[in-house]
Amino acid sequence: MFDVPLFLTFAAIAVACAINLVLQTHPISSALSLVGVMGSLAVLYLLLGGQFIAAVQLIVYAGAIMVLFVFVIMLLNAGAEKRPSRRVLGAAVALPLLFTAAALGAVMITTQIPKTAAVKFGAFQLGGAASIGRELFTRYLLPFEVTSILILIAILGAIVLARKEI
Amino acid sequence: MSETQAGSAVELEGVSGKVETPQPRRMTLNMGPQHPSTHGVLRILLELDGETIVNARPDIGYLHTGIEKQAEALNWHQVTTLTDRMDYLSNLANNLAYALSVEKLLGIEIPPKAQWLRVMLTELSRINSHVVWLGTHALDLGAMTVFFYTFREREEILRLFEMFSGQRLMTSYIRIGGVSMEPPRGWEKAVGKFISEFDAKVDEYEDLLNANPIFMQRVKGVGRVPVETLLDLGVTGPMIRAGGLKWDIRKSEPYSSYEKFDFEVPVYYESDVWARYRVRMEEMRQSRRIVQQAMDGMPEGRWVADAPKAVLPDREKMKTQMEALIYHFKIVTEGVRVPPGEAYVPVESPRGEIGFYVVSDGTSKPYRVYMRTPSFGNLQALVPLFEGSLVADSIASLGSMDFVLGDVDR
């Protein structure tokens, strides 16, 4: 009974935060806006029945990745962006492109998705940790193991890059 | 926020020319003058690369009160009170150093009882200084509780000082010609009680700290400076003894009958914070021994020299003898006339060598009083101790130097 208003509220927050992210000149404000987007997306995931993925969204994205961003911004003590010089040119190229992309997306969504398809709150029961874990460790075992190697490589890469002398 | 932004972006337009690597951005941190761990108003400008100190510049003088100049306007006896105010932790050693220098000019013989009392009280003040150092040092490293334990002992010592002199901090007990008052009744019991319990208290501190791996990690190998550097900078006291130099004025140039006391000079060789800590812990035990000996062997006799021109007479005599009344009048109204000349007698204070270079032109006021203070010398070691260390280690190093800003700025 509450899911439509909840969706609208958090979708609005997400869009507002996303636009704020693009418009803010200071990276830390952008980063916090992105955290806002992620938080509201986590709520939307809950509405979609993805409890586990919502928690992971908060733990990994908001809690780790974005903290890392904030950390780096603070470490570099990055100031606000200076006024872009070639703004007109950039906008002239970028905005039509983006408009086209958005229009294309809208067309795709309206033509390809059946009108009747709706999200029933509580209908999707597979979003718990158990079912995802079972899939992850059976059908998706190989990709799962590969991600561990990916992470290992990322760790090594980060360490090598961040050393004092490179 | 100001940061030095050395170097600039270099365009790498496909040229294999010399590429200048810009210096990493450094941060300038202004530590002090109001900072919890500078122990007073010391300002240190730190240039940081991350958390490593690249450059450290101490800025002193915030506590400058012009004591040296003031001394020229006061008469010889009054200057004693100024020496108290230089260093609130080792006032008795300061009194003693000043008194010894003036007495040398006056050429007075000090009676044994006064000498023994002086030794006993300066050693108590050494203990006082070291326990305060220990407490604040541990507090800097985050161990709160030690602070309260040490202040329990400090309170005892201050009570003893109050008993002797009527004052807790600015005792001015050691005067030209002896000590200011006869020791009060029952002092043996009070001092005896304190020193009989004190060794156990030191053990208690060591129990709290020595067995603690975090404390060991914080002090071992931290703030290591070669003893030669320290010597070049004029560092004295426990700091130089922690570097392996057995230099203690009580042994090398004994004053006030120190040669008659039996004690060890603790020496360690690591020259790090840990060594300084152990030197001071051991010195507390040795000081307790000296106090014990002084108390047990306290000679009979008077507590001031028999020098009517320099020392105020007894109240009784003043009321009954004409001569005494005249001397009293003269000393009070115009002060002691010290024969022309100059003198310097160094004393081992809790922080190192303190000495007063006094010049007299024969009047009742000093022509010049120059203080060689240990804190100033020890603070010289700040730059070599700081550079290249981490900010957190610098706190430990700073604490291990044990200076009093009043002593530095004067």
């Binding site: 439509v4 992105l34 939307l44 990994v60 470490l75 997306g105 998705i113 995802i132 899939e135 | -």
Partner: protein
């Protein structure tokens, strides 16, 4: 009768939200000049894609979409670690975060 809210959220709403977020991210990528902000725009786009995955997963009644977005998160984490390390290095060597001043990625 004025506009009436549906009883359930249509699937297309989620997809449109996702598209909006994605396009916003892409716009940010093209407009912003700060490397870190640009990087964050990429994260925003990844998040938008994740939302699509989860929506479809819900619509199809299969858990695979969740798994995909899980992998996306893992990759994003690895990417963030390496990417931020690169940014740190760039900043150390160039003392700038302006993306247009780091244009030596060419022959």
């Amino acid at each position: 009768m004025p506009f009436q809210l549906p009883a359930e959220v249509p699937l297309s709403w989620y997809l449109i939200l996702s598209a909006i977020l994605f396009v916003t991210g892409a716009a940010g990528f093209l407009i912003r000049r700060n490397i870190i902000t640009v990087f964050m725009c990429i994260e925003l786009m990844l998040n938008a894609v994740n939302l699509t995955f989860i929506s479809f997963s819900n619509a199809l009644g299969k858990v695979d979409g969740h798994i995909f977005s899980f992998f996306v998160m893992v990759v994003a984490a690895a990417e963030a670690a390496v990417g931020l390390a690169i940014i740190l290095t760039v900043f150390k060597n160039r003392a700038t975060l302006e993306i247009d001043e780091v244009s030596s990625l060419k022959l």
